[in-house]
């Protein structure tokens, strides 16, 4: 029997990752071009329900979100639950923290489980760069709103007369930062240049991502993590046959206006991607009562944000600041981890973060440490591939990483894993999972 939810004064209990499911990620405009966020989130949920026999089950709470959202998706997660095989009595809420959305849903639900507020939860995220919302221009929007408020014909005519031809052009979403106007890639190009990350190092990381992901598929690692969708059985962005030579032929796309040589290409940057992922979380008693596996414990998490607007730090460098705080709180060092899952928004992001943690001056001056945080063993980094190979449907990346890392820890049978996800707005979230 699942235990009763207990008041918050009770001692905290474990929140465990039971398993996960995602649909294969597809490049924007590809196989999921006509799938909505809700379609994909339902598919991810239904695959999870099928894997764990949760049909008609009332889950404590489902939390998910999307970065690119239509206004009709104001209640996206609840609508997806209603469209899924879960009990309609399952409550749900939406979260939005840019690319950290998926990880933040895991953290939030795990905390509720730890506090005894819920016994089970499904965390997740979805994004479609294909089925993106297109909004009318600010000018047209104002005119339409004024028109609807106008009472007399005269007022109506006057309102419409305020319309200018340029107002008719629609607004498509961009990855541009509202306060700087720079795209995410251009922001990263500044950081990549500042840390003097070479083109070769970035291509090498991209190559490893593809070969690691391909190898993981080959050995059946994803057979209980991925459910095919719309005929797609593997991440469509994966290039199992790519090589350093092929990656070296690609032309740079970001940082071309900088004084330093441009190094960021379509090969070492993530493409726009469509996809969805979900993670089943529960208390130990919930998992036992339902004869469900327990892959890993959700230990702790920390968010950080940086002032990128005034150029004090790189847009995607917030996780660098979050990590030492998280390690200190848990009395851990980098040597205490067996797996590092650092989201590959760009190869340059990962490499800049690693360089920062290895740098004595930076760690002393910016992170307030006594010296360099340390070096991350590359053999433990993104061992089953990451976003450069799998693709990066913004809010779905956190769920992909948590489920894959939990399974890797379960296979190993011991140890800890660290997750680091950067996000727009100069934010980032890091988290720790541990094997059971």
């Amino acid at each position: 029997m699942p235990e009763q939810a207990s008041p918050t004064s009770a001692p905290v209990r474990q929140a465990v990752v039971i398993g996960g499911n995602r649909i294969p990620f597809a490049r924007s405009g590809g196989a999921y071009a006509y799938s909505s966020n809700q379609d994909m989130l339902i598919a991810a949920l239904d695959g999870l329900v099928a894997r764990f026999g949760l049909q008609g089950e009332r889950i404590g709470e489902v939390a998910a979100g999307a970065v690119l959202k239509h206004s009709r998706d104001f209640n996206l997660t609840r609508e997806a639950v209603l469209g899924s095989a879960l009990s309609p009595a399952t409550p749900a809420y939406d979260v939005q923290q840019a690319c950290a959305t998926g990880l933040e849903t895991v953290v939030g639900l795990a905390n509720k489980i730890k506090l005894g507020q819920i016994d089970s939860g499904i965390a997740g995220g979805v994004d479609s760069a294909s089925d993106a919302p297109i909004a009318v221009s600010e000018g047209l929007r104002r005119v339409l709103l004024d028109f609807s408020r106008a009472r007399t014909t005269q007022q109506k005519i006057r309102t419409l007369a305020g319309l200018r031809p340029k107002d008719l052009a629609p607004n498509a979403p961009t990855t541009g930062e509202p306060r700087t106007g720079l795209s995410m890639g251009e922001h990263q190009a500044l950081t990549t240049a500042a840390w003097e990350i070479s083109r070769e190092a970035q291509d090498e990381l991209a190559f490893r991502s593809h070969s690691n992901l391909a190898a993981a598929y080959e050995r059946g690692f994803f057979s209980d993590l991925v459910t095919p969708y719309r005929g797609v059985t593997k991440d469509a962005n994966l290039r199992a046959d790519t090589s350093l030579e092929k990656l070296a032929t690609l032309k740079p796309v970001f940082g071309k206006a900088l004084p330093t040589p441009a190094t960021m290409t379509a090969g070492n940057s993530t493409p726009l991607t469509d996809g969805a992922s979900v993670v089943l979380l529960g208390s130990e008693d919930y998992a036992r009562a339902h004869n469900l596996p327990m892959l890993a414990n959700v230990v702790d998490a920390e968010a950080a944000a940086v002032d990128f607007v005034n150029g004090k730090e790189g847009l995607l460098m917030a996780p660098v600041y979050a990590l030492p705080r998280l390690l200190q709180r848990n009395s851990l060092t980098l040597a205490d981890f067996d797996f590092f899952e650092i989201h590959e928004a760009f190869a340059g992001t990962v490499l800049s973060s690693l360089a920062a943690w290895e740098n004595d001056d930076f760690c002393r001056n910016q992170l307030g440490l006594e010296g360099a945080l340390g070096t991350i063993d590359r053999a433990k980094l993104n061992v089953n591939g990451s976003s450069l190979a799998a693709g990066h449907p913004f809010a779905a990346t956190g769920g992909r990483i948590v489920a894959s890392l939990a399974k890797a820890l379960s296979e190993k049978g011991s140890g800890r894993g660290l997750i680091s996800v950067c996000a727009a707005g100069g934010q980032g979230v890091v988290a720790i999972l541990e094997a059971r």
Partner: protein, 452 residues
């Protein structure tokens, strides 16, 4: 794939035209619906021996109207001819001729069922001739029946009594709509296994004979496998559905429809048995029913056959089953009264042009089932094969239209079967009432002209 001819011909005007032109007139078969009555009309029990008396007495307890002699002009749901006591061919005349009169009274979707002892266990040539003679006579009756009626037999093996539970279980299946596409077949039924006291479970609630049991079905993402999962679920089983990872989307849909769990697994991987056992053990504790349904075809005339086609078919259709069974039989997860049902094919019985690889694999299934059944003797476990004939699936829908129309009419029921017909037979063999059936091949083929 809809059989449009069958749908058309069951309307008044087309039916009249077809009759005058002598065209085939396939009937809409009587299929099982939950809660249905076993018979709408009286049942006739033909036979003068003590076996016939005992059976008639037993059937009265089923709340059925039983006749020992048909009333003139009445309609019968079934005629059961009990011939367990014949000693020479001349003994067949009286009961068979009486059966002939009863056949005239048989309702649409009616049943003729013969019960007799195994010819191989006869006291001498004359008795063997009589018993084998029944086989031929019943097969012929099956070919003569129309309007969706079928004729089948139950062969009493060893000392099995006419009125014991195993025989009655088989009789109930043959009387019901669950056997709609089983025609001209003989179910050899043995006496209750010695281990019946130790580990053999009965059926309990007749509407949910598999309640509380855990079944695993391979190749369950679509077609016959998906239907097997649905029928096992209807009968009360927890169902684990297995298919290759690439079929995961459809598999998840099947799992969610039957309230089961989906396991994406390529059954040809060396550790497939261990992995499916681990899944069942962790989620359900024990494996009660294993249905080997996964199968593929790679048709080519043998002269044009290549190693890839031959190997993939044999690997999926039989080698994987052998490997999985080895793991299952060595595991304590497999229940003491566990059931294995393996999908064979009429191609594996009669051969089929362009299917030497497929037929080798499916005949191999039959060989495996027979050999494994010997290991199960004296236990409460059983293993059997089901051999589908022409079944309306995505696979047979790919047959060219004219060939498909001809293939459909080639059986005594003049139509293809449905996936549910195969699934019903699988579910019956998986149930407690099939405890006396072991090492057999049950064809679900509507008494197809080929492969019978």
């Amino acid at each position: 794939m809809a059989d449009t001819y069958l749908e058309l011909i069951n309307n008044p005007l087309p039916a009249r035209i077809a009759k005058s032109l002598g065209l085939p007139r396939p009937a809409v078969l009587r299929r099982h619906t939950p809660g249905e009555a076993l018979a709408d009309h009286p049942l006739l029990v033909v036979g003068s021996g003590p076996g016939a008396d005992a059976l008639a007495a037993e059937l009265l307890a089923w709340d059925l109207e039983i006749r020992r002699h048909a009333l003139p002009g009445e309609t019968l749901s079934a005629a059961i001819v009990v011939l367990d006591d014949v000693s020479a061919p001349m003994d067949l005349a009286a009961p068979m001729l009486e059966l002939g009169q009863a056949v005239r009274l048989l309702a649409a979707g009616g049943r003729v069922i013969g019960l007799f002892r195994a010819p191989g266990e006869s006291t001498g040539p004359a008795q063997a001739a009589a018993r084998q003679g029944i086989d031929g006579a019943i097969r012929s009756v099956a070919r003569e029946l129309r309007r969706g009626a079928t004729a089948n037999g139950i062969i009493l093996q060893r000392s099995a009594r006419v009125d014991e539970p195993n025989v009655l279980g088989a009789l109930r299946f043959l009387l019901s709509g669950k056997s709609a596409y089983v025609d001209g077949q003989f179910l050899p039924v043995g006496p209750a296994p010695i281990a019946s006291a130790a580990g053999s479970r009965g059926d309990g609630d007749p509407g949910r004979p598999l309640a509380g049991r855990t079944a695993l079905v391979t190749g369950a993402a679509r077609g016959i496998g998906a239907e097997i999962a649905a029928v096992l679920h209807r009968d009360g089983a927890h169902v684990v559905v297995v298919d290759v990872p690439a079929a995961g989307e459809q598999l998840a849909r099947v799992a969610n429809r039957v309230g089961g769990t989906a396991l994406q697994l390529d059954i040809t991987t060396p550790d497939a048995g261990a992995r499916l056992l681990a899944h069942v053990a962790a989620r359900y504790g024990a494996l009660d029913i294993l249905v080997h349904n996964a199968g593929i075809t790679r048709d080519k005339l043998l002269a044009n056959m290549d190693a890839a086609r031959w190997d993939s078919v044999v690997n999926v259709n039989i080698t994987s089953q052998l490997r999985i069974n080895e793991a299952v039989l060595a595991s304590e997860v497999f229940a003491p009264d566990g059931r294995i049902v393996s999908l064979a094919s009429t191609s594996g019985i009669a051969g089929n042009r362009g299917q030497s690889n497929y037929a080798a694999s499916k005949a191999g299934v039959i060989g495996m089932v027979r050999a494994t059944s010997v290991e199960f003797e004296g236990t409460a476990r059983t293993i059997n094969a089901v051999a589908p004939g022409f079944i309306e699936t995505e696979m047979t829908a790919k047959i060219p239209p004219l060939t498909r129309q001809v293939a459909r009419r080639l059986s005594s029921l003049q139509q293809g079967g449905l996936p549910v017909d195969v699934a019903e037979t699988v579910a019956f063999l998986a149930s407690g009432s099939a405890a006396g059936i072991n090492g057999q091949v049950v064809r679900v083929c509507g008494q197809n002209l080929v492969g019978a």
